[in-house]
Symmetry: C2
Subunit: 418 residues, 2 copies
């Protein structure tokens, strides 16, 4: 069989372990030099392909590539750039194929969420019709855990671990202070449509911590919420609240959108956490503290789940192996074979079934009152946060790698306007 | 020499390592049963002494006490309850002595910051005049790092490590996204009066990350700040901002107090981070993300500095050794003997020189433009965040201990009204 180059790109919000998938792709590709020439990475994701800005990963040392396994963020840059539909912007897809052709790229590994699965699928289809067939394999990644078929998405387990640990630690803190000071701790977590990350905060309930979760899946009911918080404080002297950024009123407005104005009358973008905290203070009078974890949660490689790191790596590795085995338009997936003891294997999902399908929390994972998680949810989550996989440190900080990221020479005339 | 019981209490905001000091006190006391009977701990700090709610730490297993070394928060409860001056409320001090006398307490170990050092000092003085002399030893603790004499305060090093690591990780994240999305990341950190914690965020500048720090020590200059952020984005395509909760305008108003009102006209308590982020968006148009670390930073035992844990333990151990050697009205202190390689030893500070003295960042630690840290500051900070000291995990979460916390029987008649 002939040798072809490979193209790899990172898409959308980055995670603590997306580079572990990159590591899996590149290390595996390096094991088959007779089949895969160079892995070219898109600088800033798919934009790098469109603008023919291709990073030569062949210039990176084995040690640097190995270090990707423990380095958070997107080592080649990611982007939020969604290709339009084939009908609306065929020229972008055609441009991709032209660039692939110019650089002798036969494998397209696209590491992202639902949108990139869709792009991957379309590239695969179009490349056939354009007479330059490319094997397109999607590598799953999303902290939101919203891809179908795969049991979970690499990136999610580490965020879940971070939120569970942080909620546990901060709850210990507020419990210490509750007698004379803070009784309420509110932590805001990511998840605009799905409450998977918020659910992870619910794991602290096993540690005798009264926790109230506000899911995006459950319409906010202020009266019932305040009653629940009050009952917790009366029983435990404190209460922890985990609020998803997507928590919303029955009319669809996010809790974070309070119509707040600053002194100049500008709309104030706040978070849901301060809104919830102030609501409790005004109604119940309890002193509060609040935190917004934001990027800290998805970048926290220092506290990654070992399970998550292993799965992220395995997805990257499997993507290359699938391509070499002749597969096309597929995505490696995590298949859970047992929850206790936890066991999983790598499966394969056709992209036609992945693209444009969003997975939400099953209603059976949310407790009847809407403020907590069920035993089924615990059983699902606990394996995903199992194990620690610490990065090496130097001078007190993680020794994360920065790659050389040198581009190969362009081969196409002119430039492409995005 | 005769045997006496000891009293130990935690005061003020808790930290990731205050229990490591408790561990040092109790483990060391257990080595001298002929001198120290039982360590009685105040439930919820000094309030436990005033209300005669004394926890019998003798009922805790050696394993549970050992686990305090890696458990954040205050295991016995802390409080924000400042004893008034001797003149204003002599009855509280007299009550303390009565309780100590009733429970045969000859040693008073008080683990806290400036206020508790002051209380400790007064108890020592008053107990002499009341004819029931108690040896009062203060054990230093404060994330604010604002105690004098000691080179640093246990609790600070771990917060500094957490903020430095989190700032590094989130900066990697925003750098990945900057091409098409977020260019600004703002993280808000603790420190209402002193910028020690914010300074730790400045350590990421060594990792080629453009970071702008807003210290409470430097009056906020909006124009210069925005110019600095703009210059960074033009050079690096992104910029990280570390804002101290104490950052303020020239007239003293905190950045967080923006006169913001919600839809009902209520004053909105926000954070400094969203204010700064929105300011950048409105003036420069850059997309932003922001985080408020709040309790997460001081509770993050999962990422404690090994140096900090060792010093916290050493301070607790030294407090007991000082007491047994006959010292009174003193505080163990960290004495730095070398920065590179880092070396330190335990010193002793008289409480008369500790009480009511606050230590600020030296101006020489802040860069000339007011937005960064100097090499001298780096040299000071780096040893304090050195080393990792991970807790054990179970089911994906740290296996922190909860003590039995059983009280001994009261011996005094009636109750004490706080």
């Amino acid at each position: 069989m002939s040798q072809k180059n490979a193209f790899y790109a990172q898409s959308g919000g980055v995670t603590a372990v997306i580079n572990a998938s990159a590591c899996g792709v590149i290390q595996t590709a390096r094991q088959y030099p007779e089949r895969i020439g160079t892995v070219l990475a898109g600088r800033n994701g798919i934009i790098g392909a469109l603008t023919e800005d291709l990073i030569d990963t062949g210039l990176e040392s084995d040690a640097a590539i190995a270090a990707l396994r423990y380095t958070p963020s997107g080592a080649f840059g990611s982007c939020r750039y969604k290709l339009k539909s084939l009908e609306a912007n065929r020229r972008e897809y055609e441009r991709l194929i032209e660039v692939f052709k110019a650089h002798d790229i036969g494998y397209f590994f696209y590491n992202g969420g639902g949108d990139s699965a869709d792009t991957c699928y379309k590239v695969s289809q179009l490349s056939e019709t354009m007479g330059y067939p490319v094997q397109a394999i999607h590598v799953p990644k999303t902290v939101d855990n919203d891809l179908p078929i795969t049991d979970n998405c690499p990136g999610f387990g580490s965020v879940a671990k971070y939120i569970a640990v942080s909620t546990l630690e901060a709850s210990y803190d507020v419990r210490s202070m509750a007698k004379t000071s803070t009784k309420i701790f509110v932590i805001e977590v990511m998840g605009r449509h799905a409450g998977w990350i918020a659910a992870a905060g619910g794991l602290v309930a096993d540690h005798d911590i009264p926790v109230v979760i506000l899911f995006p899946e459950v319409e906010f009911d202020q009266e019932r919420f305040l009653a629940k918080v009050k009952a917790n404080v009366e029983q435990y002297d404190f209460c922890t609240v985990v609020v998803s950024e997507g928590a919303h009123w029955p009319d669809g407005r996010f809790l974070a959108e309070q119509g707040t104005r600053d002194a100049f009358g500008h709309a104030q973008l706040g978070g849901a956490a301060p809104v919830v905290a102030n609501m409790i203070k005004e109604s119940l009078g309890y002193k509060f503290h609040w935190a917004v974890a934001d990027y800290l949660q998805r970048a926290a490689r220092h506290l990654a789940s070992k399970t998550d790191v292993e799965q992220a790596y395995a997805m990257g590795k499997a993507a290359v192996e699938f391509a070499l085995a002749g597969h096309n338009s597929v995505m490696p997936a995590v298949v859970r074979t047992s929850s206790s003891p936890y066991a999983w294997e790598v499966g394969m999902a056709p992209l036609s079934q992945v693209a444009n399908v969003e997975k939400f929390m099953p209603r059976g994972f949310i407790s009847e009152d809407g403020f907590g998680i069920t035993p089924a949810c615990r059983e699902y989550l606990i394996p995903l946060i199992q194990g620690e996989d610490y990065p090496p440190y130097q001078d007190g900080l993680p020794a994360y790698v920065r790659l050389l990221n040198q581009s190969v020479a362009k081969k196409l005339p002119g430039s492409f306007v995005l």
